[in-house]
């Protein structure tokens, strides 16, 4: 899950880095997942290095949780 920089107060370089650059470094990730039959989007925290899902929760809980 990538957080967009403020579009009105960021440089072109920051913006394009947000759009196009991915580290793809294995490790802890926080991601948007979609349950397609119901169209429900939720958050998954997983470790891509160990292929393990650590937590799933509703987007409303984002504020309460520290980034992994």
């Amino acid at each position: 899950m990538r957080v967009s920089p403020d579009p009105d107060n960021c440089s072109d370089a920051e913006w394009t880095a947000y759009l196009f650059n991915r580290g793809s470094v294995p490790g802890l990730k926080r991601e948007w997942w979609c349950h397609t039959p119901s169209g429900y989007w939720f958050i998954v925290e997983r470790d891509t290095a160990r292929d393990e899902i650590l937590a799933t929760y509703d987007a409303t809980e984002l504020a309460m949780r520290a980034a992994p």
Binding site: P7, W15, W41
Partner: protein
């Protein structure tokens, strides 16, 4: 020479059913239950194939699906594995990889060239400019089997299966595992690659009748399904396993998997160890017990473990003469195993097998141990079979796929699972446990733990028990010979010196050496060679196997026939609510965005182009009707609905008046055009909008994601499937609609881009005044169930139905671009001529930030209208995607082109370099047949009125 024995208890063959088949042009007979290889072996055929590189004669070796030199062409099917493929009557069997047949293979000469063909020879010698020429030559003499391009397509069904515990391997351990898991209440799927369950249990310590009793209990158990002749080809994440059956593939999702896969016996490496008649001890056991075949008349058992002496006992049961028991270990003799009456020699070094006139082994030359100060003597022992029982490698391919790291145990001289991921269990000999009682217990434990894990009650990982483990594997059964031909890998004809040469060249890790020497890259994927190869490599580096990992084992375990992997070619499509009406009107259908849509309606006696032109004329001259039910249709409601649309679309919608519609353009964050549609405001807090036919599902999903982030106060309903929609277009459309609706359609009451709700043909409808294909037109949206009624009413009023092709021409005449046809993944709205739909001054919309950059940089391309001179119109072969050429370079491409019946000439849209975008510019289009054609850039729309 091999021969068939009298009936043996438990044999897999059915002697009452004789099968006749052909091998290399001669007629043979076998029994039902035989494999191709065993039927030939029983008939005394020793040479069954030719080796891959040197074309040496080869025979039975493992009889366990690793015999890469027993590959056959069976009729049209190449590379059939003879050692495991059931014999069928009428089979036409031939050896592969021969020139002129198995016996007189003319490619034998290659072995004489062997001194000039060291490992890596092909890479080095043919690398460079002339490689393609050499490659053709080499390919002509190598390769296995013939492909019959005209062979009938074979479909293999797939199915999904679910179980609590999947047990792979139905030997002594696997049977105990399955019963234990089932006793614990689990639903168990038990699979085994052999034709019958039991594995090697019968010759590895099971009591008489024990295997039969276990199999009977498994068959009787209600919650165990047993699949034989089925191998697990691949193990994927979360216990997802692909099972290959002869005529089916099963994709099974298991709660837990127990790998009771056992071990693979490894050969002894000595000169001429590849001769027909030299085979693994376990292969001899399979021949004896399953197929009632004696491996020879006078055999030598070369051994380094108790399993070899058990084999001798079995041979004597069948009155096979054992010429000698040669033990590689010093100090081990037959006395230790109660076979002291036979010639048992410890500390033997095999020197070479010697071939007879038939190419098969006729003697074994060995060096006998010295006695104190006396040096060892060389002796040649006559025999017609050498049975090797010197050690095992765990069948760990599937375990590795499951993420298990194998660690070499120096005490056992075997790799053992070091750490098992959750849900993955191993049991039996693959764990290094050889004694039968301990294996049964290991299986019972694994079964119980796997069942507990599958229930979710227990998340533990098993570790291998250290007790009662005995070493059965010789640490280094490799005996290099000065004259070489000690084969490590029979698939690829790799000898000890090849590996040493590779290591010397610097390819001194298992992975590098594999790629340099092709060790383990043949059909059996190194199951008989990777371990010894690594032993040879590590010894050359003065290291041990504990210091390295073997090469990675990936899916598939055995080669999987392509027919098992090929999909069924499903192309599901959706049908509109009035599909039957289209059929009744003789529509020619095409697939658009997953829907079946009428391309045009056929009129007898008229060609496709004429039909389309007539549909276009109907719309321009009176009225036409097209089914646009395939458009995505979404309702959004709530206090923030308008503000949400402002953020999603480039235009402004919170200021849209109720009862009006506005065109909307949707971008991605990169400012690229993704979708478009019409947004209608039905109420203060209610909007209804359309998306492109192909984009409906994606757009809806994206909207939900955006609002999961923004959490605005609005809700969405995707009504694409709930509502049908028709576009009534043309100058007569208003008059026509007036007769069918209670909505006031007068110009003053229902302006252009208005939306009204009322009744059409007696049912509730939403009507949008639109101008996509004609200046005057109405989109009529009704409930799915009422669609037929409305369609029929409009058709009865004298409207002509038109299809997607006519719509493309009509909108092109009006100069409208189609998203994803006239735009691509690099097109921003300014380049597509849609800048009028973008309100850059809004505080925010998706893609706005990137558009600011695009605006500053200027357009890199422009969508322009063009037309061909009237004299070029007919037959000018310009197609979509034809290139624009300017000063010898590509300067764009045609995105839409059609002959306009209204204008009488060919018109189109092209994405062109900005310097070619000025009206009046001449474009050079390279047509599909390569001719350059001139076109002129013109203003759009091509047609103002109509």
């Amino acid at each position: 020479m091999m021969y068939r024995l009298n009936p043996v208890a438990g044999e897999w063959i059915d002697r009452s059913s004789t099968l006749e088949f052909e091998f290399e042009g001669h007629t043979f007979r076998g029994f039902a239950g035989d494999t191709i290889t065993t039927a030939l072996a029983a008939a005394g055929e020793m040479t069954l194939g030719r080796s891959f590189k040197y074309h040496r004669p080869r025979g039975v070796f493992s009889l366990a699906n690793h015999d890469a030199n027993n590959l056959f062409q069976v009729g049209e099917v190449p590379n059939v594995r003879g050692d495991v493929t059931a014999l069928a009557a009428g089979m036409q069997v031939a050896a592969v990889n021969t020139i002129g047949g198995l016996k007189g293979d003319r490619a034998r000469f290659i072995e004489w060239l062997a001194p000039f063909l060291p490992v890596g020879f092909y890479y080095k010698a043919f690398h460079g400019r002339h490689f393609p020429r050499w490659e053709r030559r080499i390919r002509a003499i190598s390769g296995l089997g013939r492909i019959h391009a005209g062979a009938a397509r074979q479909r293999t069904p797939k199915r999904y299966a679910f179980c609590d515990v999947l047990v792979i391997g139905a030997g002594l351990t696997g049977l105990a595992t399955a019963l234990s898991a089932a006793d614990a209440g689990a639903r168990v799927l038990l699979v085994d690659e052999n034709a019958c369950a039991g594995g090697g249990g019968a010759w590895t310590g099971a009591a008489a009748g024990e295997i039969e009793a276990l199999v009977n209990r498994v068959s009787a158990a209600k919650n165990i399904e047993l699949l034989t002749a089925t191998y697990a080809a691949g193990v994927y994440a979360d216990q997802w396993v692909a099972l290959v059956e002869p005529t089916r593939m099963t994709k099974v999702r298991a709660g837990a998997v127990v790998f009771a896969t056992g071990v693979i016996e490894q050969p002894t490496v000595f000169r001429n160890n590849d001769l027909p008649g030299v085979l693994l001890g376990s292969a001899a056991q399979r021949l004896l017990r399953r197929y009632a075949i004696a491996p020879g008349k006078r055999v030598i058992v070369l051994t380094a473990n108790r399993e070899g002496y058990e084999l001798v006992r079995e041979l004597r049961v069948h009155d096979v003469e054992v010429a000698a028991i040669l033990d590689l270990r010093a100090g081990f003799g037959g006395d230790a195993y109660g076979l002291g009456d036979l010639r048992c020699v410890p500390g033997v070094v095999p020197e070479a097998a010697i071939a007879g006139s038939n190419g098969a082994v006729r003697a074994l030359r060995v060096r006998l141990p010295g006695n104190g100060t006396r040096a060892g003597s060389i002796e040649t022992i006559a025999c017609d079979a050498v049975l090797m029982s010197v050690g095992f490698a765990p069948a760990s391919g599937l375990l590795s796929q499951a993420g298990v790291v194998m660690q070499y145990d120096m005490a056992l001289q075997q790799h053992l699972p070091a750490k098992l991921p959750p849900g993955v269990f191993a049991a039996g000999r693959v764990n290094g446990i050889y004694d039968s009682a301990a294996r049964r217990q290991d299986g019972r434990d694994a079964g119980a733990e796997a069942a507990a894990y599958a229930r979710g009650g227990h998340v533990g990982t098993r570790s291998v028990r250290a007790e009662s483990l005995r070493q059965v594997s010789h640490p280094y059964p490799v005996f290099p010979h000065p004259a070489a031909r000690e084969f490590v890998d029979l698939d690829e004809d790799i000898q000890v010196k090849d590996l040493l040469a590779g290591a010397q060249e610097g390819f001194d890790s298992t992975e590098l050496l594999k790629r340099f020497s092709t060790l383990g890259m043949g059909p059996s994927q190194g199951k008989l060679s990777n371990l010894h190869g690594a032993r040879i490599l590590m010894r050359s580096r003065d290291a041990t196997l504990a210091d390295t990992a073997l090469t990675t084992q990936r899916p598939f375990l055995h080669p999987v026939p392509l027919k098992h992997l090929a999909g069924m070619g499903f192309h599901p499509h959706r049908l509109s609510a009035v599909h039957d009406c289209h059929v009744a009107l003789d529509a020619n259908f095409m697939t658009v965005g997953g829907w079946q849509r009428p391309e045009y309606y056929k009129t007898s006696g008229q060609a496709r182009a004429e039909c389309i032109a007539a549909e276009v004329r109907a719309v321009r001259e009176s009225a036409g009707l097209i089914d646009v039910s395939t458009l995505g249709k979404i309702e959004i409601s709530g206090p923030d609905a308008g503000a949400f649309l402002d953020r999603i679309y480039t235009g402004s919608f919170s200021d849209l008046r109720v009862g009006m519609t506005r065109y909307g353009l949707m971008l991605d964050e990169g400012g690229i055009v993704r979708d478009d549609g019409v947004i209608a405001r039905l109420g203060e807090q209610r909007y209804y909008f359309t998306t492109t036919t192909g984009g409906a599902a994606n757009v809806y999903r994206e909207l939900l994601l955006w609002n999961a982030r923004w959490r605005m106060d609005c809700a969405f309903v995707n009504v694409t499937g709930h509502r049908a929609a028709f576009n009534l277009a043309g100058p007569a459309s208003l008059t026509l609609l007036r007769t069918l609706t209670d909505i006031d359609v007068s110009e003053s009451a229902f302006p252009f881009l208005g939306v009204r709700e009322g009744r059409v043909a007696g049912v509730e409808a939403r009507v949008l005044r639109a101008g996509f294909v004609s200046s005057l037109g109405f989109e009529i949206h009704v409930a799915y169930r009422n669609a037929g009624q409305v369609w029929d009413a409009l058709m009865s009023a004298g409207v002509r139905a038109f299809g997607v092709e006519a719509q493309r021409v009509l909108r092109l005449e009006k100069g409208h671009a189609i998203v994803a046809q006239d735009t691509d993944n690099l097109t921003n709205p300014f380049e597509a001529g849609m800048g009028w739909a973008v309100r850059m001054q809004k505080p925010f919309f998706v893609g706005q930030r990137s558009l600011r950059i695009h605006v500053r940089r200027g357009a890199r391309q422009k969508l322009v209208g063009f037309e061909l001179p009237p004299d070029q119109a007919v037959g000018a072969a310009i197609r979509e995607s034809n290139l624009l050429i300017h000063e010898g370079d590509i300067a764009g491409r045609v995105t839409s082109v059609a002959h306009s019946p209204t204008l009488g000439r060919t018109i189109g849209l092209a994405m062109a370099s900005p310097n070619l975008a000025t009206p009046g510019t001449t474009l050079v289009i390279r047509s599909s047949d390569g001719r350059p054609l001139s076109a002129r850039v013109v203003r759009t729309p091509f047609l103002e009125a109509g």
